[in-house]
Symmetry: C2
């Protein structure tokens, strides 16, 4: 962002509201040891562009409800998410922050700001990603000049679009989709058909009720010498609803996927085609085209390569998910931590003990705070890498695209898996009140859960990351330069590393983690090469063990290295010191949670001492933890009823409860209570 | 149950419907190696009484929707859960299965059947537990002859009741509740008051809209020599709503807790008292009473002991939760496993690979299947222990009550924690379709999540279990007999055990786990005794490490021992062999997941070999896994759209989707899509 941090700070603080200095808050802040605004400055520097502008626009919209007060039926939620994106986008146009043309220039820059919407309302955020990140971006990346107006109409929201890749039967293996697009040169049209039940496009966001248009991926068939020849998966952009009636055209059947575990504010739908004809120009023809008389033309010979190209812009989704997922973990942790600074249970009868003073509670929350803080920095860096690489994404021989693909795959997988268990822990750490809708955990969990599945199943993505590392090993063995993020392979660690270093020394610990990543990579490669059933079978059989360990260690190393680089940008001593403590705690817990590796690496007696290091770190963080939640740039309205910065828990919670419709009214079905007894009247 | 297994089998199979022999099902069953009905016989023998009777009654009720088709608004869900319990109970009366008097005799026997309802509809199941397990049972356990009619009215559903223990400010530490009941001898009444915001009773199930009566726990105050003297927490039973209008009485304010993460079919409510007067006889006076002129009388001197007595029947809830939680994990696993026997993704293009054939997928699902199968047996045994002990629950010096308290505490905690991550894994193993409401995972997860919190927070319960074990060590040291489930302490293992045994030998492996439990108990006791900050501080500081390990090893040992005892009851060789395989796999994964302990116990090279043992077990289970899901006694309607035994996944799923209201209709708000463009008409 070009905005100065002062302005950013002011804007955010405006959104944050004023923290009335409650007794609890005063007590908590009195023990802090670092400078808040310096810490914010360092952290906010790593945020994506547009982050604060987006919040500013939101703050100017009226009638946007606090998400924790906002529970409605599916249909209403969908209406609201559509309305929200239209109003917000129009506000951005109105304020001159952007124009449809500017968005079309750099869709991701626009989107990466929009994803901060996540903490307001996940359905709205998803609605944005569908419209811009999936629909518009595919037109832009796979289309040509011919599709420019369609792109602009998408960016201006004249056209609402959706992105139809997944089918009932194919999600991870989208090369196996079944919908066919057959070229008919007599009419110069493609004919779309869904030949089977499993060919129905399924899960398509914004399809069920909103979209005018769809990007549809289908198997392209061309008539060559009287034979229908399959040319692989291609994308088309086409109208699906009649703009007069907003109902689907003949030959198109559209339906609702119904209720979901979460995100009911998005109208996911299914679509079935029967001899539906679309013009030749519908084909997004950047990498391949069909001439009027039905000749297939492409500069890229390999079908696999063409398919890869058409998928490569999807990495962006994974980049954003990594960020969102680490962000909502920190959001959840902030809620639970703030609640624990007010909630008391057991202990001396005059004043019971604060949950935050129980070492167990500290362990449950602070170790995870450290973990996700480290993830957060890793994700912010990844967003910047993505933005920088975007203009040359599809350039021939651009190795960076491959790096980002592999890195975003492991980040998305490992970050969102660990976030899931963290958010669940936060829910539980708030006891019964964490089960209330008003605490926000239900929404957050249901949103994060999805991150393991959409934009590529996380296990399948991890395998892509594994192939990248294995490739890196081959390069390293041949003495070639290894790609970014794999520098540790040059350590060529083939024997288990042993640590005799200092547990307070970040550099030494980081080296151990790099050695671990190198060792585990070489171990996995060796196991694969020597595998009895052969490499292919080994790749399947070793998934749960060696190969997973290898990717996980890669992920750890990337996050640690990113954090160390970040530390060098922090000038303020007090701030650097507290951030270092977070990294140290993260080292200790990672080691303690992976006895399979670290018992041997540290030796049993050093390993046992980790507990002491952890407890010591917890005690130190205890003094700073509430101020640390203030370093995060989340607006107050994303903190639910229990987590506002003023630590006024019970009053706000009661207000939320009492705002619920019909709270003290008699139910319409009250007479049911008298089925087995007489009503006395 | 007295019913012969043949009848049970018939009844259940009737409920299960007929499995049309699909291609997938035939293929799966063709590789099985064990006798299904023998396996069912062995397993079903361990089930609680009433299990099948309950299902039979349900099958005779009409209009009970398939839970996976059933999504409605909070208000409607609540109506339905009330209606369901009334109709079902009346059906049981009608068929002569029971009477209100018989239920009152043995409430838990009735309830333990009812909990099988869980797999149909969690809100209904909870509604039962509130009415019978909490409201009626408290009257029975803490009341006297004087309250008999109230009890019968509860059992017959003439009175709908609720159970008010938790307050806004106190859940785990209920001894700290704030509501006061002050005796006024001039009118011979107690006066109820909620002095603060945190004193509001909160989360009380069935309070918001349904209940006529409440059991309310309050601090009892008596006037003694002109002084108001606190006598501690006592329970009262009282009417809260006017039976003429079903609105609350003056002095009573009742409200709704609003939306929750799950279980919205239960009307949790809050209640506030202001000078609300109730007759002297409202006091449930089994352990203490107040005479007409206001003299407090009790045979139990210690306030702590009185409080303990009034809470002890609550262990029943934890017993049931252990069972429900292991049951719904197996239910979830069955769904995911059956889906994986149909779903194909990637692989050869003529026929893609079944998910069930991917070793990673096997690892994700089968290791957990083994784990929860072992839990399930442990929980079934616990239910039987509970039932047997019930008549002498509060007998002076009955050690078994203490054993069950400690055991149900650890079972509830460890089973429901691990279930949570298992159900989440099952959701993810089904990919996008697992995120559909119709797969049932959302409901199951949200229900199970609660198990960590209600009926006593699981961390707090674990501490109770720890105290029991530490006490056991003291007994063992003094040469006294140790209580049931702690027999392993006699091994007096003070040095880390080393295993040189046979990895196929269950007895030897079980011994290792017993030694581990003994060692970790002694290690924790030693760490506590030597703790610098003293025992009390140590008890807090060592929660996340030594003490948790101690309880977790206790839990493992109990489940393993229960399973071994179960194996001796299995006559059929083929069945015993497959059950043994499950236990072995459970040993291997437990060891591999706890490198902190087992790297040293096995030595690194044996530890590394665990992976091979796991892979071998997975391959063997692969052949039997679908038949294993048939051994479980779950009715088809609890298997959601993806998990029926006939393995007809896509057809049923599409039916479910298409049954959703308004599936292909235009949304009411469709014109919104034309905000930024003109509608063409
Ligand atoms: C709410 C929601 C919104 C969505 N929005 C859209 C949208 O707008 N547009 C769109 O096109 N799609 C959308 N999707 C679809 C989404 O992208 C897919 O669900 C996702 O790609 C996963 O595919 P799948 O569901 O077919 O899972 P599957 O591929 O069937 O995977 C199921 C399980 O099998 C495992 N598995 C798969 N392959 C292997 C293997 N080789 N080895 C081992 N294990 C394997 C996976 O780990 C997974 O656990 C959406 C989905 C949801 C739930
Ligand atoms: C849907 C629902 C239905 C319910 N129904 C009823 C009902 O019908 N009747 C009724 O009376 N109650 C009911 N409850 C209340 C329930 O029993 C309580 O929520 C439960 O006992 C936990 O108490 P709490 O919520 O106050 O959590 P707290 O006690 O505030 O615990 C919060 C967190 O602090 C931690 N913690 C607490 N003490 C310690 C300690 N000493 N050391 C370390 N950590 C600690 C816990 O582990 C937990 O994570 C219901 C709750 C829910 C959510």
């Amino acid at each position: 962002s070009n905005m100065s941090h002062e302005i950013a700070l002011k804007r955010l603080n405006m959104l944050k509201g004023h923290f009335r200095p409650s007794k609890d808050l005063k007590r908590e802040l009195s023990t802090s040891t670092f400078n808040l605004s310096k810490a914010q400055e360092s952290l906010w520097n790593t945020l994506p562009a547009n982050y604060f502008e987006t919040f500013e626009c939101i703050s100017e919209l009226h009638g946007i409800p606090d998400p924790s007060l906002y529970n409605a039926e599916k249909d209403e939620l969908r209406k609201d998410s559509n309305e929200f994106i239209i109003r917000l986008t129009n506000k951005m146009f109105e304020k001159g922050f952007t124009t449809p043309e500017k968005i079309a220039e750099n869709i991701d820059a626009f989107n990466s700001g929009m994803i901060s919407l996540g903490s307001f309302n996940f359905a709205t955020c998803t609605r944005y990603l569908v419209q811009y990140g999936l629909y518009c971006k595919t037109i832009k990346n796979l289309g040509t000049e011919r599709h420019h107006q369609e792109l602009i109409d998408g960016c201006s929201l004249k056209t609402l679009g959706c992105f139809g890749l997944t089918e009932m039967g194919h999600g991870s293996n989208v090369r196996g989709i079944e919908i066919t697009a057959t070229y008919d040169k007599t009419t110069k049209e493609f004919i779309l058909n869904s030949p089977t039940k499993t060919a129905i496009k399924f899960w398509i966001g914004a399809l069920a009720k909103s979209a005018h248009n769809a990007v549809i991926f289908a198997q392209l068939y061309i008539n060559e010498n009287g034979q229908k020849v399959r040319k692989g998966v291609h994308a088309f952009v086409l109208p699906i609803r009649d703009r007069m009636t907003h109902t689907s055209f003949p030959g198109v059947e559209i339906g609702d996927c119904g209720y979901k575990k979460g995100l009911n504010g998005i109208d996911n739908g299914w679509i079935k085609f029967e001899d539906y004809r679309i013009p030749r120009e519908s084909l997004l023809n950047r990498f391949a085209d069909v001439t009027e008389d039905g000749v297939y033309q492409t500069a890229i010979e390999s079908e696999g390569k063409r398919f890869g190209n058409s998928m490569s812009s999807l990495s962006g989704g994974r980049v954003f998910i990594s960020r969102m997922s680490s962000e909502i973990s920190l959001q959840s942790l902030s809620i639970a931590i703030r609640y624990a600074a007010v909630r008391r249970q057991f202990g001396p009868s005059d004043e019971e003990t604060l949950l935050l003073d129980y070492p167990l509670h500290q362990y449950r929350l602070f170790t995870r705070f450290a973990e996700h803080f480290v993830h957060y920095l890793g994700a912010n860096r990844l967003v910047k890498m993505w933005d920088k690489n975007l203009p040359k994404l599809l350039d021939e021989g651009n190795e960076q695209t491959e790096v980002i693909h592999a890195l975003s795959s492991s980040m998305k997988a490992f970050v969102s898996w660990s976030s899931q268990s963290t958010i669940d822990e936060c829910r539980k750490a708030c006891g019964g009140h964490g089960y209330s809708f008003y605490s926000l955990f239900a929404n957050i969990l249901n949103f994060n859960d999805l991150h393991a599945t959409w934009e590529g199943d996380s296990h399948v993505l991890t395998m892509q990351n594994q192939k990248f590392i294995l490739n890196g090993i081959r390069k390293a063995l041949k003495g070639k330069k290894v790609p970014e993020t794999l520098e540790y392979l040059s350590l060529a660690q083939t024997t288990p590393p042993a640590f005799k270093g200092d547990f307070e020394n970040i550099d030494e610990l980081a080296k151990l983690f790099a050695q671990r990543a190198s060792f585990l990579a070489n171990k996995a490669a060796k196991a694969l090469n020597e595998y009895e059933g052969g490499f292919e079978q080994g790749f399947l059989d070793l998934q749960s063990f060696e190969l997973k360990d290898m990717s996980s260690a890669y992920h750890d190393n990337y996050c640690i290295e990113t954090f160390r680089a970040f530390l060098t940008t922090v000038d303020d001593e007090s701030v650097r010191s507290i951030f270092e403590k977070l990294l140290l705690l993260n080292f200790y817990t990672k080691m303690h949670n992976d006895g399979n590796f670290f018992v041997a690496a540290l030796g049993l007696s050093q390993f046992e001492k980790l507990k002491k290091h952890i407890n010591k770190s917890l005690k130190h963080l205890r003094k700073n933890i509430i101020l640390l939640t203030q370093v995060l740039p989340f607006p107050e309205r994303s903190m639910g009823a229990l987590g506002h910065g003023d630590l006024q828990v019970y009053d706000r919670y009661l207000q939320h409860i009492k705002a619920c419709k019909g709270v003290t009214e008699r139910a319409s079905w009250w007479k049911l209570a008298y089925t087995n007894s007489e009503q006395k009247n």
